[in-house]
């Protein structure tokens, strides 16, 4: 029978397994604490990320400015100053106007959005709120059926999804509808439109509470529909300038100077970043507190684990193990225990996160994107490495404080 000499590392791993019982409590402590820390970091990161994901996913270079002035002087001036600020900026103006569609059973308020001819991106405000703040974001209108760009011919239109479902239950395209364009003198021009595209509903298409027989409709149509009349003759006219430029803030400022209501995504994103940064400090403090608590816990847990092993250490020393041999064994054991449990705690937290997502999916119909920032990863990594090294060393050091004879004389 040939017996190979055991390596000191595999001996340490073996001793961890053989002393499973005395490492139990210690392992529970480590897994709980690290799960708590990682869970906290992941929860904060994910909730921040999910709070701000709409805002942060917006293109920062978009500015949307609107005004109710009938003749559009402000928009003309803005157009000039945009060209002054950034000659490479693209910008368009479109109008919106309200009307009522009476031929349906519902009381339908429709917003007509007149967009310029050509392949023009169409932007829209969303109001969206986090726990504390309400943000305006501008998102490109998302086409989901039919045309894949807002290139509308004279008699073509795009409508929102829920309205489309009522006019075309079969779901075919194009569908013809007659739409009244109301003028400021309350006269009406009926135009026949081919619905060639369907876009996602936005917040304005939601039906207000207590108005279930009401439907909010958005119809995008070409500016050609205004025909020979002036845009300023449209009923309840709003002008909207959309600009795309690297110098979004300057354009925003100049629009505000012209008395317009303007939204600059970049500014709001910077504001959100401030909130996220403030959370970093909190995370750091929580991590330190958890680490201190865990440290105290680990200290006593490791001491207990070591108490169970005094006899073993005494015997090993007596038969000739040097204190370095013992240090090395307990250093390895500490490392193995710490690393195993930290890995386990990562698994625990990931599983809980997945379970939470499943719960949200079933019960709340929204799903969080689970996110963890680099900063949190660094915090967790530093805590793990720091505690692992400190306690493995301490464990190893304490293992040499054991008097050899004391545990041998006793029977």
């Amino acid at each position: 029978m040939k017996r190979n000499r055991e390596s000191s590392f595999s001996h340490a791993v073996k001793m961890v397994r053989r002393n499973f019982k005395s490492y139990m409590m210690l392992s529970v402590t480590i897994i709980l604490s690290f799960s708590l820390l990682l869970g906290y970091l992941m929860f904060v990161d994910s909730s921040l990320f999910n709070d701000y994901k709409v805002l942060l996913s917006c293109d920062p270079n978009v500015v949307l400015a609107y005004s109710y002035d009938q003749n559009g002087y402000a928009h003309n001036s803005l157009s000039e100053s945009i060209d002054d600020i950034d000659s490479s900026a693209s910008h368009y103006m479109y109008y919106t106007s309200n009307t009522k569609l009476m031929q349906y059973d519902y009381n339908i308020s429709a917003q007509l959005v007149f967009i310029p001819m050509g392949d023009v991106p169409v932007y829209q405000y969303y109001l969206y709120s986090t726990d504390k703040d309400i943000y305006q974001v501008a998102k490109e209108v998302e086409l989901i059926k039919g045309k894949d760009a807002f290139y509308l011919l004279e008699n073509e239109a795009v409508v929102n999804e829920s309205f489309y479902k009522t006019i075309s239950p079969q779901g075919e395209l194009p569908v013809e509808i007659d739409v009244p364009v109301t003028w400021s003198d309350e006269s009406v021009t009926w135009v026949r439109l081919n619905i060639v595209g369907v876009c996602k509903d936005d917040s304005r298409n939601n039906i207000p509470q207590g108005a279930e027989n009401t439907m909010m409709v958005t119809i995008y149509l070409s500016q050609e529909q205004i025909g020979d009349k002036n845009a300023s003759d449209l009923f309840s006219l709003t002008r909207l300038t959309w600009a795309y430029s690297e110098k979004a803030e300057e354009i925003d400022a100049s629009a505000k100077q012209l008395g317009m209501i303007s939204h600059c995504i970049k500014d709001q994103q910077l504001e959100a970043m401030v909130v996220i940064k403030a959370q970093k400090a909190t995370k750091g403090i929580v991590a330190i507190i958890l680490m201190v608590l865990l440290g105290i816990n680990l200290y006593s847990s490791f001491s207990n684990a070591l108490n169970d092993r005094k006899f073993e250490i005494g015997v090993k020393r007596a038969i000739g193990a040097s204190s370095w041999d013992i240090i090395r064994q307990f250093l390895y054991e500490g490392l193995v225990v710490m690393i195993t449990n930290i890995v386990l705690s990562i698994l625990v937290v990931t599983n809980i996160a997945i379970a939470y997502k499943a719960y949200q999916y079933i019960v709340e119909d929204v799903q969080w994107v689970i996110d963890i920032s680099i900063y949190s990863v660094i915090i967790f990594g530093v805590c793990s490495i720091f505690l692992t090294i400190v306690f493995s060393l301490l464990f190893a050091y304490k293992s040499t404080r054991i008097e050899i004879v004391k545990y041998l004389k006793a029977e």
Binding site: M1, R5, E6, S8, N19, E312, G320, S322, V405, K409
Partner: protein, 215 residues
Amino acid sequence: MCNIELKLEHIQKSYTRPVLTDVNLSVFNESYIAILGKSGSGKSTLLNILGLVESFDSGEYCFNGVKIRQAKDYAKLRLENIGFIFQAYNLIPTLSCAENILLPTLYSSKKQRDFDELVELLDIKPLLEQKVTTLSGGEKQRVAIARSLILDPGIILADEPTGNLDPYNKEIVFDLLQKENKRGCAVVLITHDWDLGNKAKTTFVLEGGRLIEKK
């Protein structure tokens, strides 16, 4: 088998009261020394000093030419020169018999004795993979002896190795010690058993902190 030359001169050791007052002893490869004495007279203390696991207060101890100083650890000397046998066996309960026997080899690259031969000698082959907690006293002591011999020490220090054993096992242990001594391994044996004591080449009684040779 390594050379052994131990010399204790005027060794003193006290805890709350003096235990060893003036111990003088020389040990060589061919020595077979039995130490007898009343309980509490300091026999174990002396053996632990000899075995470099306990320090002494004053006197001189020379281990193979190395002058032993207090508060210094001589793990390597212990590992490669000394085989310890205890009355309480001191096997590690979380290790199997074979693992206990091979434990010293974990710490030393010194050539070990042939494992199978040792197992044969001590008649413990069926026990090797058994948990030590389930062994009988005699079996435990044989495993412990195998552990003490695995690195082929120059001296065996046995503290009441037969204290818990029946006459049959006592005989086995005694035979073994004798065999090892014949091979050139020094034996220092503590015992309460006068029979066993008298079979040694030299017999001492520890009394009043001194060793007195019995003729």
